[in-house]
Amino acid sequence: MTTAPHTETAPLAPTAPLAVPATRASGCPFDPPPSVEYARKEQPVTRATLWDGAECWLVTRYQDVREVLSDPRFSSDAKRPGFPFLTAGFKELASSNTSSFIRQDDPEHARLRRMLTADFMIKKVEAMRPQVQGIADDLLDRMTEGRTSADLVAEFALPLPSLVICLLLGVPYEDHDFFQERSRVLLNLSSTADAVRVSQDELLAYLEKLAETKRHEPDDGIVSRLAARGELSNRDIAAMGRLLLVAGHETTANMTALSTLALLRNPRQLAALREDPTLITGAVEELLRYLTIVHNGVTRVATEDVTVSGHTIRAGEGVICTINTANRDEGVFPGSGELDVSRDARRHVAFGFGVHQCLGQGLARAELQIAIETLLRRLPGLRLDIPFEDVPFRTDMGIYGVHALPIAW
């Protein structure tokens, strides 16, 4: 077995509860960790241990994941005992009451989410396309002017969604170093609880001040309109704004860069997409499925005893739904280990499922379609500028991707 490069054939049969976040196999940076893939195949509902020694359930198959995430008996409220925390930082944030509706249950969750759904609905997103296209073109103009190489993350993948979410929220983009640094701390799996608290407090203080300013100098952004409703404190608005700011740029940024890399590594898929740009809509769904950047899963806690595929999950027990393995479920996506841009992957759960399913998914789709289509069209000679083995993958972060992507054209 020592020479076999395929860890798939040598599964690590877990005797003890599976340790999460699990580690990916070296040389397979696009695939879920072998231990969790093994669980999906052999023990689809299984026990796991977290970094702090706490135990919880791991739900790994597509149907079970959809079932858990759409069942109101599984709570998103991180203040409930038994809630599983993927990092010390997330645990720290849970007690601070500042995570807004992503960590609340209905009816409060729905009340807050519905204050934002109009801003992210499909027709709003469609109307924004020309603006997003303009931003993509400007960034590529600047990146390519007089040069033949650059870091795609720093110059394109990150600034694009960052500029868009700033526009939407009414946050000055000049401050991007400030909030990008803090959101990196929030998402780093090894950040200490103290570091996370400081970053969270600084972000909230910044957004609270912004909310207060908008009460006197209103504009058309989300922060200003939330303030104008008169129902929310500056603190509530700051918590919502923080959620949107962090969720709104790290995710799309990482999907853009990781998708580019995945396409470069799959030249036939890249060629197919270049030949027929109308494939872009479906290709983005397939990339979302294949890459599932929310790679450590989505967490809940049971509020009643619930049976999932024959296992009774007791009230007060935590659950992690590994959406990355759900998206590799062979019963739903045959040949799931292959990237296939012509596949109909629309049923993937990369945005989660149930009432917490990603609020920004329409925007994310439009941004990804525009970013990838524009990049491929404008840089026909696009290639990786470092050996693949040297690409710095974000195994250390809550959102997967690459820290940098040196490219040439």
Partner: protein, 69 residues
């Protein structure tokens, strides 16, 4: 095919509008689902079934008519 939507359950994800734009829309004020066509033509049935399958909140219910297509 007869479609009903539950606006209380809807979480405004917009997946139905992407899957079947001729049948579903979103309310201007809050992005909640609006049914444009409760009995869509046969040519739209597949898109509607996809919309129901991707709805994260189980807000779309389909009843197959007696005289099936």
């Amino acid at each position: 095919m007869h479609i009903t939507v539950d606006q209380d359950k809807c979480c405004g994800a917009g997946s139905c509008v992407l899957a079947a734009p001729d049948v579903f829309d979103q309310r201007d004020e809050d992005g909640i689902v609006v049914l444009l066509e409760a009995r869509p033509a046969a040519g739209l049935h597949e898109a509607v079934r996809e919309a129901a399958a991707v709805c994260p909140a189980a807000a779309i219910t389909l009843e197959q008519a007696q005289e099936r297509v």
